[in-house]
């Protein structure tokens, strides 16, 4: 008996493809958000569980030592604020879950709790929060600090932060709104309390000034691959997005998460683990393979883009010889899991070899017809145990409507036919659609 998988789509509020086939007519149209709102509608009509809006706050200048290459390959910038987009997507859809990325290092907790509460109401219970801690010094420097906190420390703070915002969301009892016209009483004040939170790093009196959330609190998403990241995910997450390479790593990752959840007293089934993939779908295998060659090997921008993307955590990959193995990279404070994943794939392979032939951040290389790709997905899930996939079209400057339709109108129907996807949303709340069978 097959069971339904969960599907998300990971996207950046950034330029869409602008210099490749299937680009839009204007390279600046993404700025208005309309493409992404339309995309959300497409995801909804295909039965995708949620859209996940990534975020970061810098124009990187590590790759090549200046902003030049970044603003040529647009891997991280320009990037708009995902919060207003999440709101506009809520206005333009009715069922889709909307996960927005916000940093525990950069957002004042009361402000974060309140904007997510407001969005949960506007979406009638469809908001999720992707917890990130931010990894770049450049991000810290936009917020008054010289350096970002050390990796482990960021996660310690994140635990306290999440504890605080959960208390804020809980400060209004679910039935606080009484709307008693006879007494002229809108809210029963005995059901609203301040929290007087005073932790090691954060302090907030509370309560929040918003009504209790339709979902109680947003769906919590997390992506940590490092041990502290996994710890946070196991403790807090309703959905985890990850990209361990290959079936064995996928399985050990999920097993580890489930074990950690049990250790903290959680039911492992109360969190879904999704794996990042960038399927390349063709009408024939040859068609798909040609597409992959064009995308990964023949496109001169592809290698540069990957190196730029990898350079986001204080390492300039432009310093390495593309045709030699990756040298030892000293421990640094951010992005550890990306570096380790890469080296694990072959300490003797050249850098060019390591990063060509597939998307950088995907668990499985899926190139083929809808049938062959779903076969591969089934094989992986049978081994791994669950729970689904997170689609990703590549970072800034890559997504097209053409790609979206290939997945949504090509691959999803095949998944549906096999009973692995549904195109209806039986529940009002995102959490229920995600977690209930």
């Amino acid at each position: 008996m097959t069971k339904r998988w969960r599907y998300g789509w990971f996207v950046n509020f950034m330029p869409t493809a602008w210099k490749t086939p299937w680009a839009q007519t204007s390279p600046r149209r993404w700025l208005s958000g309309e493409f992404y709102i339309e995309m959300a509608r497409m995801l909804e009509s295909a039965g995708i569980d949620f859209i996940m809006l990534e975020d970061s706050v810098t124009v990187p200048d590590t790759f090549g030592g200046s902003m030049d290459l970044e603003l040529m390959y647009t891997t991280r910038s320009p990037k708009n604020d995902p919060i207003p987009l999440a709101s506009a997507i809520a206005a333009g859809t009715r069922h889709l879950g909307i996960v927005v990325t916000m940093s525990t290092t950069l957002y004042p907790p009361w402000m974060l709790a309140r904007v997510l509460a407001s969005l949960d109401h506007l979406s009638r219970g469809r908001i999720g929060w992707n917890i990130v801690t931010s990894a770049e010094d450049r991000a810290a420097q936009n917020f008054g600090m010289d350096k970002i906190f050390e990796h482990g420390h960021r996660y310690e703070r994140a635990h306290e932060y999440v504890d605080l915002v959960r208390q804020l969301w809980g400060a209004w009892e679910p039935d606080a709104l009484v709307m008693d016209r006879g007494q002229g009483r809108y809210v029963d004040h005995t059901k609203v309390r301040h929290i007087d939170f005073a932790g090691k790093w954060f302090k907030s009196r509370g309560p929040l000034n918003t009504l209790p959330l339709p979902q109680g609190h947003p769906v919590i998403a997390q992506a940590g691959g490092s041990p502290p990241g996994r710890g946070l995910a196991a403790a807090e997450a309703d959905v985890i997005v990850s990209a361990p390479k290959g079936i064995a790593s996928m399985k050990s990752y999920r097993d580890d998460i489930r074990q950690r959840m049990e250790q903290v007293g959680r039911d492992p089934d109360s969190c879904k683990v999704l794996y990042m993939v960038t399927p390349l779908v063709g009408e024939t295998m040859a068609d798909a393979q040609a597409k992959a060659r064009r995308m990964y090997d023949e496109d001169p921008d592809a290698i540069m883009r990957k190196l730029a993307l990898m350079s986001s955590a204080q390492i300039d990959y432009s310093q390495f010889d593309l045709d030699a193995p990756l040298p030892d990279i000293p421990d640094e404070r951010g992005g550890q899991s990306i570096v380790n994943e890469l080296r694990k794939q072959g300490p003797d392979k050249t850098l060019r070899k390591l990063i060509s032939g597939s998307s950088q951040s995907e668990s499985l290389t899926l190139i083929g017809t809808p049938e062959s790709i779903v076969d591969q997905m089934e094989e992986a899930m049978a081994e791994v145990g669950g729970d689904g996939f997170l689609f990703f079209a590549g970072g800034g400057g890559l997504i097209t409507r053409h790609y979206l339709t290939e997945i949504l109108d090509g691959l999803m129907p095949e998944l549906s036919r096999r009973g692995l996807a549904r195109d209806t949303y039986p529940h009002q709340l995102f959490r229920d659609n995600l977690l209930l069978p």
């Binding site: 208005s32 910038s77 207003p84 506009a88 009361w110 309140r114 509460a117 809108y186 004040h189 918003t210």
Partner: protein, 437 residues
């Protein structure tokens, strides 16, 4: 000869409409947080060719009155109140020309975050957003953000001056020609036209640059409401539109002349700021019908309810417990670190031996009382503007669909018939429309 054409705005918050009015549908009273009421509101204002909608904000539930949340929550005064930033995309998404102003506090927002959110909103609205610059006025709000007390009144404005300097630098960190979008060179943006700001001031340290492209208006329209001398200086330095609540025509005229004088002293053209006076018109089909509505407010039960709400409101605003003063005595001498001009206006209403209870029952924030048929009120607004010199009115008041219609489909057509308010938008951006006359 009538007044010169003037501007219309509406002052509101993302909070329950007049839920206890017989003309408020229960669905709006209960589900305002889902946005539909406000979307319809915005469309109505656009139909009536308002320049803008201003979403006020605050960051607390207040328990200053009698040491309890009761009065605040019973009347839904300060809470529930949801985040204006989350609402803006709903309003701009449903309109094409209306300006939408969001209140964001310079005391609580990290400047980079505010600058980026505003840039994104400006992109998404096609250049139609404004920022109402506030410094917040309550310790209760500060305590939600981990502070024990709010900064002292004048220091808040010193910080805000530097805050504005920082966000202006961020908005200018991408030159207008930075996006080159050149497929041949592969260059999306020209890094030589994107600049770190390296701001290091007394209160803020921000490296920059902004991580997204310059928005249609470059920066949002600046709105401000300070009435104290320090607040007026701040407004004269930065504001492009001011929310003013002077009491009576003479005070309105004095306020406007004072601001224009302060602007000229700083080398700004006084016509570059539009001063809109807060009014709360009671519109009836006939003068008698409107008078009857105001009369109904003097019934003892209504007076008691209104006085209770007014004292809760003042307690929250000034952080002084007004429940501790006898209602049948004159207003005691009170000072505040919060809303200074609002408090002094209230105290002034008590001159001539009125009691606290009488003043509280009659209290409303309006520059001139406007009661009558559309024609009567339009004539009066005409006269007031001739006396004051400009630049328009900001409607506030009961949020019901019926009330909104009385203004948009009753009063505004009468103003338009006199040639006093616009019948069309001449430009695409908010600033260009606001500065048109």
């Amino acid at each position: 000869m009538g007044a010169k054409p003037f501007h219309l705005g509406w002052f509101m918050s993302f909070r329950p409409p007049a839920w206890n009015s017989p003309f408020c549908a229960p669905v709006d009273a209960r589900e305002w947080a889902s946005g539909d009421f406000y979307v319809d509101f915005a469309r109505s204002l656009e139909r009536a060719r308002f320049d803008y909608m201003m979403i006020e904000d605050s960051s607390m539930v207040s328990d200053i009155h009698a040491g309890s949340y009761e009065i605040d929550l019973k009347h839904a005064l300060y809470a529930p109140k949801h985040d204006p930033v989350a609402l803006v995309p709903w309003m701009t998404g449903a309109t094409t020309h209306l300006g939408v102003v969001a209140t964001m506090s310079a005391s609580f927002y990290p400047p980079f975050m505010l600058a980026r959110t505003m840039t994104t909103l400006d992109h998404m609205s096609g250049g139609r957003v404004g920022w109402n610059i506030v410094t917040s006025s309550e310790d209760r709000a500060a305590q939600n953000y981990g502070l024990d007390k709010l900064y002292e009144h004048d220091e808040r404005y010193d910080r805000a001056d530097e805050f504005v300097e920082v966000v202006e630098k961020l908005w200018d960190s991408w030159e207008p020609a930075a996006l080159v979008l050149d497929c041949d060179s592969g260059k999306y943006a020209d890094a030589s036209k994107v600049h770190p700001i390296n701001h290091e001031g007394r209160y803020f340290k921000v490296r920059g640059p902004m991580n997204t492209a310059r928005s249609p208006q470059g920066r949002p329209v600046f709105c401000q409401a300070g009435g104290s001398p320090r607040g007026r200086d701040f407004a004269a330095a930065h504001a492009e539109t001011i929310i003013a609540s002077a009491q009576g025509v003479a005070a309105m005229r004095e306020f406007r002349e004072d601001i224009r004088h302060r602007m000229a002293e700083r080398g700004r053209n006084p016509d570059d700021c539009k001063i809109l006076f807060v009014v709360n018109p009671t519109v009836g089909a006939t003068d008698a019908e409107a008078q009857a509505v105001r009369e109904s407010w003097t019934a003892p039960a209504v007076q008691r309810y209104r006085a209770e709400a007014a004292l809760g409101h003042l307690s929250a605003l000034t952080e002084t417990d007004f429940s501790s003063f006898p209602l049948d005595q004159p207003i005691p001498d009170v000072t505040t670190n919060g809303h200074r001009s609002t408090l002094s206006d209230f105290i002034r209403m008590g001159t001539g031996g009125k009691t606290l209870g009488e003043v509280a029952a009659a209290w409303s924030i309006e520059s001139v009382p406007l009661v009558g048929s559309p024609a009567t009120i339009a004539a009066e607004m005409d006269e007031v503007m001739q006396e004051v010199g400009g630049d328009g009115f900001l409607i506030t008041g009961a949020g019901t669909r019926r009330y909104i219609t009385e203004i948009t489909d009753g009063l505004v057509p009468a103003l338009q018939a006199r040639g006093l308010t616009r019948t069309a938008y001449s430009h695409t951006t908010f600033r260009d429309n606001l500065m048109e006359f």
